[in-house]
């Protein structure tokens, strides 16, 4: 029995599975259109937290040429973040945001007040931090993908958590991401690793491998039978572990951050299936 026949709902990670940067993975578009044609549920489950929902939809259209799909996008991740923040934010309270423009826009759209976002190169001297007086009312430090991350931001985030008792949450801890067919670069996990290690505290993670998104998907799509759901991803620690934590089957593809060499070295995280790429689903 092929994978297409065995499952009704396909959860796809994006980077390294359906695209790498702006390059589609060969065959991805065909597979997805095929699945949609057969009335399968196609849902993108991504830890990407720098695109707005709108720009994510655009990307799927331009890169994959797919027009009908259900998705959990970065924005829901951001909204989840939001709902967790908002529940606990009183008027006048705010977050310290390490994150992208897309995430900041989402916060703006939902009236969540934040500081720290953007290009901060305030301190060129270590001793400058001696005079830094933290703002009042900062209840959360949110760690997300931020290509403007600096030591200054790390130091301030450290101060808000260590000295002011702010809660430390992160969108995800992916150490790397595929920026193109040939290049991998540090991801969110790497951006906040130094903060976590210097604090001696790990953040609460909202994205994969946490099952928060899975629970939302099941509720949203009224999915009852877990045995008919397949999670497809390229990262054992986030995608496959997400599937395992959620109690569903998993397929590891070798088109992204995991190569066959890495796989052969052995891993404690075992996928149900291993495929060269998404094209093998057919």
């Amino acid at each position: 029995m092929s994978l297409i026949d065995r499952y009704n709902t396909f959860l796809f990670d994006c980077d390294g599975v359906v695209w790498r940067g702006v390059d589609p993975v060969p065959g991805a578009s065909d597979v997805i259109n095929n699945l949609l044609h057969r009335n399968k549920n196609v849902i993108f489950v991504t830890n990407n937290n720098s695109k707005t929902r709108k720009s994510f939809q655009e990307t799927v259209k331009t890169v994959l040429g797919c027009f009908q799909f259900h998705m959990i996008s970065c924005i829901v991740l951001a909204l989840l973040l939001l709902s967790m923040s908002k529940q606990k934010l009183m008027p006048g309270e705010k977050i310290f945001l390490i994150g992208s423009k897309g995430l900041a826009e989402t916060m703006d759209e939902n009236d969540v007040e934040y500081i720290g976002f953007g290009c901060d190169t305030e301190a060129s001297n270590f001793n400058d931090f001696a005079d830094y007086v933290p703002e009042g009312g900062v209840k959360f430090v949110v760690g997300a993908f931020d290509c403007y991350m600096t030591y200054s931001k790390m130091a301030k985030a450290f101060i808000y958590i260590k000295e002011c008792g702010a809660e430390y949450i992160a969108t995800n801890l992916d150490l790397n991401c595929n920026i193109s067919k040939t290049r991998i670069v540090p991801g969110t996990g790497s951006i906040i690793a130094g903060l976590s290690q210097s604090l001696g505290v790990q953040p609460r993670v909202i994205g994969k491998p946490s099952t928060i998104m899975f629970d939302m998907i099941c509720a949203d799509h009224n999915l009852q039978d877990k045995s008919k759901i397949l999670m497809v991803g390229d990262n054992p620690k986030t995608d496959i572990q997400f599937g395992i934590n959620s109690g569903i089957d998993t397929a590891l593809v070798l088109s992204g951050v995991t190569s066959r060499d890495v796989l052969n070295k052995g891993n404690s995280i075992k996928p149900t299936y291993v495929l060269d790429s998404i094209a093998n689903i057919m």
Partner: protein
């Protein structure tokens, strides 16, 4: 550190006394931003002690000496570090790039998708850098991951004390993201690694380890350095380690415990 201006008078007397007794006195520090010339000044002004260049071994100077010894003509390093470290590299004739890395010149994608690494970058040297940013981390990552540059760090202390009331992320924190994204650990040149110890022995032609004593205030940096180098150690309680902390420590044991270096003559 653990010797500071407050202790100036007593410390000065101790060091000058050791020198007058023809003892080898060598300062071993994980500092990466001061040149040897700056140290000579500090010793003169603060402690009234005259030191020669080879009596000061800092992790910064060690990094310069280490890469200088291995770089061929035309080869260079990618440098993550302070202004001071870049001056040390200049002083030892080490060619470097990356130090003045702007936070981002263009868009995320232009910067990293199409970034073409320079040739002949043989080392990525990581040290404390309060101007560190994602662009530097990513370029360093590319030089190691794609170009095979060797990954070196001056030290990996997770925290730096800024003052009595404020602690901040240290070198270890600055480099942690790079280390985790690569999945490889850097070769550490500073304490507690024994690289500086080997250099000191070679430089001063020291043969008999049993006649050497490492004195410091940090168990995990100074005392561990002595242990890794197989020399006796003395922990002073005049710095970051209190007697309470010492009694709670089970893995790192100094040979001697002193209140301060003045006790060397007790």
């Amino acid at each position: 550190s653990g010797i500071n201006a407050e202790y100036g008078v007593g410390t000065s007397a101790v060091i000058n006394r050791l020198l007058s007794l023809n003892k080898n006195v060598i300062f071993v520090t994980n500092n990466t931003s001061k040149t040897r010339a700056a140290y000579r000044e500090t010793f003169k002004n603060v402690l009234n002690v005259t030191v020669a260049d080879n009596q000061v071994y800092s992790a910064g100077v060690t990094a310069a000496l280490y890469v200088k010894g291995k770089l061929k003509k035309g080869e260079k390093i990618f440098l993550v570090g302070s202004e001071g470290l870049s001056k040390i590299m200049d002083e030892y004739g080490v060619e470097f790039i990356g130090h003045d890395c702007d936070i981002l010149d263009g868009s995320y994608f232009t910067d990293f998708v199409s970034y073409v690494p320079e040739n002949d970058v043989k080392f990525v040297v990581g040290a404390f850098d309060c101007c560190f940013n994602y662009a530097k981390m990513t370029k360093a990552f590319i030089y190691i991951n794609e170009c095979g540059a060797e990954y070196i760090a001056t030290n990996l202390d997770m925290n730096h004390s800024l003052s009595d009331s404020r602690m901040l992320p240290g070198t270890g924190a600055v480099l942690e993201g790079l280390t985790q994204s690569l999945g490889i650990h850097p070769k550490v040149l500073g304490k507690p690694s024994s690289v500086m110890f080997d250099m000191i022995c070679a430089d001063h032609d020291i043969q008999d380890k049993s006649k050497m004593l490492m004195i410091g205030d940090s168990l995990h940096s100074d005392i561990q350095f002595g242990i890794n180098s197989s020399v006796d150690t003395a922990l002073v309680l005049s710095g970051i380690t209190s007697r309470d902390v010492l009694t709670q420590e089970i893995s790192v044991k100094p040979t001697f415990v002193l209140n301060s270096i003045a006790d060397l003559f007790e």
